[in-house]
């Protein structure tokens, strides 16, 4: 009988009564699952995270090797790939093997928009410092403005591991909410006439040699500039070289299927599980969420504004909506840019150009991660 009552005291039902925060988090997890399945908001990210949130918030008796923050638990071992930065690096390997740089290589000017959209990062850095976060925490929060999940997780794992959950949840939430966040900002900052600017369609045929040179040139340039971005950009350009080389197709295929899928599953699941209520539900998390929204908005705004500034100097005007695609959030932001453009002028086709900005935004935020990391030495 004693054993029975002991057991009852260790069930989740008993434990949750003592700490209702778990229920809040489980509701959040279910909401994420719902959004990913019913609304199809970035399901590859939201579903694993959502279910991870549920699993991570089932109350359990501590000190027993079950929780993600306890040594020797299965979740802890799987989480190792997050805290060391392994999963983000591996995801970037697969992303590289999936990314087609043709569009970007034929429109190099658009790369600048991918740089401009990173301003959200630095603005958020200042805001986070002003809100009282330490510099290392502020750097982790700022990177949410890069709108790139693995990059955010990687930098946070290096700078402020205790914030991984909050930063990841914020980053992925806002990436899923791109269709809600970006369009009003885009419309606010552009005139109807600007939104109607057509982009020239076929700038130039990109040769196979260019595609081959790019990952090597890109590695040398970006990684020399910010060596701390090696763990992200190294695998990224490696994956891309495997893809475009055409001589190691089986490796490229595995990298862009089994390898990235495996890393995605465990990354999402454990990041979700790391939101254990007693670690996660703190005022800081709310602040981070607030800052994340600021970061995304500023990033969008600065991309658009920069495009408008460029237009002052360019003869052939750029559609300033494209600036919003520089925040990466592949391919969500590209799609939004395209849709807003089409609303203004149904014959306007911005998708390929937006993808070019997207690709450059990924590189841009990885560089920023390297820069921020090296600042916090």
């Amino acid at each position: 009988m004693e054993l029975f009552s002991e057991f009852i005291k260790n069930t989740g039902y008993y434990l949750v009564a003592a700490d209702l925060r778990y229920l809040i988090m489980i509701t959040v997890g279910i909401l994420f699952c719902y959004l990913s399945i019913a609304k199809r908001y970035e399901p590859l990210l939201l579903l694993p995270i959502g279910f991870g949130v549920i699993i991570g918030n089932i109350p359990f008796f501590k000190g027993f090797g079950l929780g993600i923050y306890e040594d020797n638990s299965v979740l802890h071992y799987l989480y190792f790939g997050v805290t060391t930065g392994l999963y983000p690096s591996i995801v970037f390997l697969g992303l590289g093997a999936m990314t087609d740089f043709t569009s970007m290589l034929s429109r190099p000017k658009l790369m600048l928009l991918g740089a401009a959209a990173q301003m959200g990062i630095y603005f958020t850095l200042l805001s986070a410092l002003a809100l009282g976060f330490t510099p290392r925490e502020a750097g982790s929060i700022a990177i949410i403005g890069g709108a790139d999940g693995p990059t955010s997780i990687f930098l946070t794992a290096k700078l402020a591991p205790h914030l991984i959950g909050s930063v990841a949840i914020a980053a992925y939430s806002y990436m899923a909410l791109i269709p809600i966040i970006q369009p009003p900002i885009m419309r606010l900052l552009t005139t109807e006439k600007e939104r109607c600017i057509h982009m020239p369609e076929d700038d130039r045929v990109v040769s196979r040699k260019e595609l081959l040179f790019f990952p090597i040139v890109g590695t040398l340039l970006c990684c020399f500039l910010a060596p701390a971005s090696i763990p992200l950009l190294g695998p990224f350009f490696f994956g891309n070289l495997m893809k475009v080389s055409g001589v190691v197709d089986r490796l490229a295929k595995t990298a862009s299927s089994s390898i990235i899928d495996t890393a995605t599953i465990f990354l999402g699941f454990t990041v979700g599980a790391s939101t254990q209520a007693d670690y996660f539900l703190k005022p800081e998390s709310l602040k981070i969420f607030f800052l994340g929204a600021v970061a995304f908005s500023i990033a969008t705004a600065s991309g658009v504004t920069f495009a408008k500034i460029m237009n002052l100097f360019l003869e052939k005007k750029i559609n300033p909506l494209l600036g919003a695609a520089g925040v990466s959030a592949v391919p969500g932001s590209a799609r939004e840019v395209h849709l807003v453009g089409q609303k203004a002028d149904p014959s306007n086709y911005l998708l390929m150009h937006a993808m070019a900005c997207n690709a450059s935004g990924v590189i841009g935020s990885a560089i920023c991660a390297g820069i921020l990391w090296s600042f916090m030495m």
């Binding site: 600048l112 740089a115 500039l225 921020l372």
Partner: protein, 139 residues
């Protein structure tokens, strides 16, 4: 995590060197991508230049060197041809699509790849699988 008595606001930014970080960081990423953008825009010219230069120095040895010997190994006997092809195509793994085979033949400058493949099929050396791929008959 920030303590209760944390310094906040502008003061905190200044104390933590925030302004410098933000300005420097922004400058670096914009400079970096600008340079990359510039290099990319010149890349095709560099490549064209290298190709011209290379053409002059290596055109002949390249044709002499590696692949033609492989073309030689194609005999009239489809059995032998099959085995030769098989070794050329180890990179394809156990099962493969005809188009991959074709591109390998093409890459090796073999004469009449289409005819060779058709002969190999009709002679039963290339065994079709249900999924549209093929594998080599075990030799």
């Amino acid at each position: 995590m920030p303590e209760m008595e944390t310094i906040k606001g502008i003061e905190a930014i200044t104390m933590h060197n925030g302004w410098a970080m933000a300005v420097t960081g922004a400058m670096i990423v914009i400079t970096g991508l600008s340079v990359l953008s510039f290099i990319i825009s010149k890349l095709h010219k560099v490549i064209a230049f290298l190709e011209n230069k290379q053409k002059k120095t290596t055109e002949e040895p390249a044709t002499k060197n590696s692949q033609p010997t492989l073309a030689e190994i194609f005999s009239d006997d489809p059995g032998e041809t099959a085995r030769n092809c098989q070794i050329l195509t180890t990179e394809l793994g156990n099962s493969f699509e005809l188009c991959s085979l074709f591109s390998i033949f093409h890459r090796h400058n073999l004469p009449h790849p289409h005819i060779t493949i058709r002969n190999l099929r009709s002679a039963g050396f290339l065994v079709p699988q249900k999924d549209g791929k093929f594998h080599w008959k075990s030799l």
